[in-house]
């Protein structure tokens, strides 16, 4: 099981993020705060705190959008919309409903699928860049980046290790934006079979990964 490294934490006594005026070097000090603490500052319209959130999650957001959209410009639009949505709806953030990262990636996923479907209607028959292998790999800048890269590898391995028929339906649904009925139609198999393969695949991944909830924060 992957042990997710310790998240950025507040360094006791050094910096109170909620105290007006962080003092000199506050930008660097912001970077030691956990996302949930940064969101308290973002709520108060602190752009520099939001910038840290951006820096922390932009690569993951872009990677997901690009995997779904397979088009750089479209992926950029999706990520831009998602981050601005996060910024403009910051008052509604509730840490009890999940991590900032999970929530952000959820927005990215929804918007990317939305964009993908709009494009599918507009450009029906157009060939996607589907099947592209690794593109411009994100450099590993920090220990956290290294850990996240390792996390990504393990999750991808867990997906790749599934029987093809299970990983295929999961990828078509999650990254391809297809419903189970569309998948069943495309693969010429009963809807129940598609649902069953999705469930088996996800359950198997959960066993392989241990507790993924610890990995996605």
């Amino acid at each position: 099981m992957i042990q997710w490294p310790a998240r950025a934490v507040t360094m006791g006594g050094m910096f109170n993020p909620l105290r007006p005026g962080g003092g000199s070097g506050s930008a660097n000090r912001l970077r030691v705060l956990a996302d949930e603490e940064l969101m308290q500052l973002v709520y108060r319209s602190k752009a520099d705190a939001f910038e840290v959130i951006y820096d922390r999650h932009a690569d993951a957001a872009f990677s997901l959008a690009y995997r779904i959209c397979a088009q750089r410009a479209l992926a950029e639009d999706v990520v831009q919309e998602a981050f601005l949505s996060l910024w403009r709806s910051r008052a509604r953030y509730d840490r009890n409903r999940g991590s900032v990262r999970t929530w952000l990636l959820g927005i990215v996923h929804n918007r990317a699928i939305d964009a993908l479907r709009r494009r599918a209607v507009r450009d029906r028959g157009q060939v996607r860049d589907e099947g592209l292998q690794e593109r411009v790999a994100a450099p590993e800048r920090t220990d956290l980046d290294v850990a996240r890269r390792e996390e990504a590898r393990e999750i991808r391995d867990a997906l790749d290790d599934l029987p093809d028929e299970q990983s295929h339906v999961i990828e078509l649904a999650f990254f391809g934006g297809m419903t189970h009925v569309q998948i069943a139609s495309m693969l010429d198999m009963p809807v129940g079979t598609v649902k069953g393969r999705m469930r088996l695949g996800l359950a198997k991944m959960r066993m392989t990964l241990g507790d993924p909830a610890e990995m996605v924060r």
Partner: protein, 247 residues
């Protein structure tokens, strides 16, 4: 299944948790299952168990760098919002500088249901048709698909360009891995010099890649691939390793 379920609840129970967490239910099915969850502890538990895996799936995407220009655009919008908010505060319309109600609505909308759900019914058939059409076109090589064997420089590598209508895809095998900090970039040539595309890629351990040529290839005479610095180039900085003559 919990006691007291209707026939419809029984049909929903136990089957829909996985497509639910993957976002693969239709709009109507999604709403029906969500209502079902209110009364079925078994399905709630299953959804909770599978949801953590679905939430981890974004990490399965190849990890890339967000373009620096994207950050500049996002932060420019954020700073503009801050500036406007400060202006409103100055005239007393938003004294606490908190997000406005429209932003709250935006959050609720994004947390509630994806915006694409309402168009799902009309989009569903089109998506299926498009997907099936793409598979049909490329599975047999017939039906209007032209396969052009490309000239490839590295020994032992091969590449072909599949042209279908205005679109094309490069199928590559045996191409050497790019050195660190470099990627392959796809270019198109019409009447002038090579034009860059958005297609930057690396190959698998076996040297394989399947790369769509972005946009229309109408009027394109040559599709080529070069090795470029990370992030791509606006003009080629190395000799092409793949050249496919379209016309």
């Amino acid at each position: 299944m919990s006691a007291g379920h209707s026939h419809e609840d029984s049909r929903l129970c136990g089957e829909s948790a996985a497509p639910y967490v993957l976002g693969a239910l239709s709009d109507d099915e999604h709403e029906a299952f969500r209502r079902h969850l209110d009364s079925c502890a078994v399905c709630r538990e299953e959804v909770a168990a599978l949801q953590v895996v679905a939430s981890a799936l974004p990490a399965a995407a190849p990890q890339l760098s967000a373009p620096p220009a994207l950050k500049r655009r996002v932060m420019a919008s954020v700073h503009e919002d801050v500036r406007r908010s400060a202006t409103r505060e100055a005239v007393g319309s938003d004294e606490r500088g908190e997000p406005d109600e429209s932003a709250r609505s935006s959050w609720r909308a994004s947390r509630a249901r994806p915006r694409w759900r309402p168009m799902l019914a009309s989009a569903a058939l089109a998506v299926a048709v498009a997907a099936i059409a793409a598979i049909a076109v490329f599975s047999g090589g017939g039906g209007g698909t032209r396969v052009i064997r490309a000239e490839v420089t590295p020994h032992g590598a091969s590449a072909s360009l599949r042209v279908s209508g205005d679109h094309a895809q490069l199928d590559i095998s045996g191409l050497p891995q790019t050195p660190a900090q470099r990627v392959y970039e796809v270019w198109v040539k019409r009447s002038g010099g090579p034009q860059p595309t958005d297609a930057l890629f690396t190959v698998t351990a076996h040297g394989d890649a399947t790369v769509g040529v972005p946009g229309s290839v109408h009027g394109v005479k040559v599709v080529m691939v070069t090795s470029e610095p990370l992030g791509g180039s606006r003009v080629p900085t190395s000799a092409p390793v793949i050249v496919a003559h379209v016309s």
